[in-house]
């Protein structure tokens, strides 16, 4: 089992900030911002020493919750400062990006990091369609087409044009090409039938997140079935499960930590906007319709003492088939980072050595 630390760039504001997304940027504190990026590097030095395999970064906008609107820049900063951790860029939001630019930047990153890069391509959370004025109804199709164009830009040796549905280019010929050939290990992230099918057709990995094991297993089962139809079988490392984990000395302590956390939606939009977006943004888990927007906090599926968590990881490995855990050990956006340091130490000493060989 490989283990990834989900790095959200811990911005600790000097005073409380509004919770509604988009969060008013006038409340941003530049000193706190600069400290957040420096502290990220210090934390990741520790994460590296504790034995994590990957650090993952993601793309979110207009909020202090996850302060990496450009995961490419976060990854480049990390790549320049750390020498061993593999950087998992999970991922660029393809739906609202220029896919050729995404391909170029990832190839450049892969070269700068000499292959210490894995990539997850995704559609993005429902609120992100509003970031750059994208019609939520088009985000699925744009993601599928954009992902295909990224792969083509990485691999096609001849200058080419792209006559797409949502993207059109007359000439593409990227430099540099990826360090890893034909391209970095790549995942199509998401539980949808479309993401699973895309991953299977292009021999990519699959990444699911946050949901209960049995529900996530529906997606990874669909993925494996689709892979079989395309004549191949994924390795465990080609399935990532991103999840929240609360590990404490005892089960009671862990549940007390969870109870103390606010039950707040990650990117809470004004109700009229949230409902209108949810109406247009169609999502599914392995073909079964699901809500586009989670009403409260994301579920915590690993919770308890080290013994309990080890058993839960064992179950996740069996039920979901994931060979990589991408872990959030502390809620993003929290102003108190001491519990994160404690959780990291406890996980690395009491859990990690026992799940390595799963």
């Amino acid at each position: 089992m490989k283990v990834s630390f989900f790095e959200t760039v811990r911005y600790v504001p000097p005073a409380a900030v509004p919770s509604e997304w988009p969060v008013a940027s006038g409340t941003y504190d530049r000193e706190a911002g600069a400290r957040a990026y420096e502290a990220m590097i210090e934390r990741l030095r520790s994460v590296e020493q504790l034995g994590f395999d990957w650090v993952s970064v993601s793309e979110h906008h207009y909020s202090p919750r996850i302060l990496s609107p450009s995961p490419m820049l976060a990854a480049a900063f990390i790549a320049a400062r750390l020498t061993r951790l593999t950087i998992a860029l999970l991922g660029p939001i393809v739906a609202h990006s220029n896919p050729v630019r995404v391909a170029e930047e990832l190839a450049m990153l892969d070269t700068l990091a000499r292959g210490r890069l894995v990539v997850g391509l995704l559609r993005g959370t429902a609120n992100e369609a509003l970031t750059y004025d994208l019609n939520p109804q088009e985000s699925r199709d744009r993601t599928d087409e954009g992902m295909e164009l990224v792969l083509k830009a990485w691999t096609e040796p001849t200058p080419f044009g792209w006559q797409g549905r949502h993207f059109q280019y007359r000439q593409v010929s990227i430099w540099p090409r990826p360090w890893q050939q034909p391209h970095p290990p790549t995942y199509a992230l998401g539980t949808s039938r479309e993401a699973c099918e895309f991953a299977a057709r292009h021999r990519l990995g699959c990444g699911v997140s946050y949901g209960p094991f049995e529900v996530m297993a529906k997606a990874t089962r669909l993925y494996r079935e689709a892979c079989a139809r395309h004549g191949w079988q994924p390795t465990p490392e080609q399935i990532i499960y991103r999840a929240n984990m609360i590990v404490a000395d005892t089960d009671e302590d862990a549940h007390a930590i969870l109870r103390a956390q606010p039950n707040r939606a990650p990117f809470a939009m004004r109700p009229g906007v949230r409902d209108a977006v949810a109406e247009l943004d169609s999502r599914n888990i392995a073909g079964e319709k699901r809500a586009a927007i989670t009403p409260g906090a994301l579920p915590t599926t690993f919770i308890g003492s080290p013994d309990t968590v080890v058993e839960q990881v064992r179950r996740a490995r069996e039920v979901i088939g994931a060979g990589v855990l991408d872990l959030s050990l502390h809620p993003p956006g929290s102003r108190d980072l001491e519990p994160l340091t404690r959780a990291l130490d406890l996980f690395a000493t009491k859990v990690l050595p026992r799940i390595r060989d799963l």
């Binding site: 087409e145 083509k152 200058p159 080419f160 044009g161 006559q163 797409g164 549905r165 993207f167 007359r170």
Partner: protein, 190 residues
């Protein structure tokens, strides 16, 4: 739309034609005009020469086009008619203004491709990986060639994505290599 038969030294050739403008000769199965041909008919005089699976002799194509009074023309071919189109372009380079090869398969000798002076567009559907190597070879060898992938299309690109096919083919045949320069505006509100 009009249709009929043309007598040539290479045999009788059936044709269908529609539209007005510069001549575009499409080597394809005959019958009713496809959506893509009708769209191209808004910008070109589209002449579809009914091409059997065994192909047409270059003399038949050139004879048919001459019988219609067309001095110079652009030439569009599909997977099964690639070879005929290339043979015509090699035989009469001064008459073929531009060449479009949709999902090319049989492409002939490297020397012929390298000597081809005609501006050439190679189209490949992203769902049909088998024709990519031939298209890539053409794109590399033909001096003024351009490779374009048509997303979500198989081998029959014009049938699978007629609007996308007609747009790129029309733009290329009007402007040749300058088609890489975008003409449409991104201005939202003046």
């Amino acid at each position: 739309m009009s249709e009929g038969w043309l007598e040539t030294n290479g045999g009788r050739v059936r044709y269908v034609e529609a539209g007005d403008g510069p001549a575009l000769v499409h080597l394809a199965a005959g019958g009713a005009l496809t959506t893509a041909q009708a769209l191209l008919g808004r910008r070109f005089r589209v002449v579809v020469l009914d091409t059997p699976a065994r192909g047409l002799a270059p003399s038949a194509v050139l004879g048919a086009v001459a019988a219609l009074g067309l001095e110079r023309f652009s030439l569009v071919a599909g997977a099964t008619t690639t070879r005929t189109a290339l043979d015509v372009a090699v035989a009469a380079p001064e008459r073929v203004l531009g060449l479009v090869l949709e999902s090319p398969t049989s492409i002939g000798a490297d020397a012929d491709l390298a000597a081809l002076g005609t501006a050439t567009l190679l189209l490949c559907g992203t769902l049909d990986e088998e024709t990519t190597p031939a298209a890539r070879r053409c794109a590399t060898l033909i001096p003024n060639a351009h490779l374009v992938f048509v997303y979500a299309a198989g081998r029959t690109i014009a049938l699978d994505r007629p609007e996308a096919f007609a747009e790129v083919v029309g733009d290329f045949l009007e402007r040749h290599e300058a088609f890489v320069i975008r003409r449409s505006t991104t201005l939202i509100h003046p």
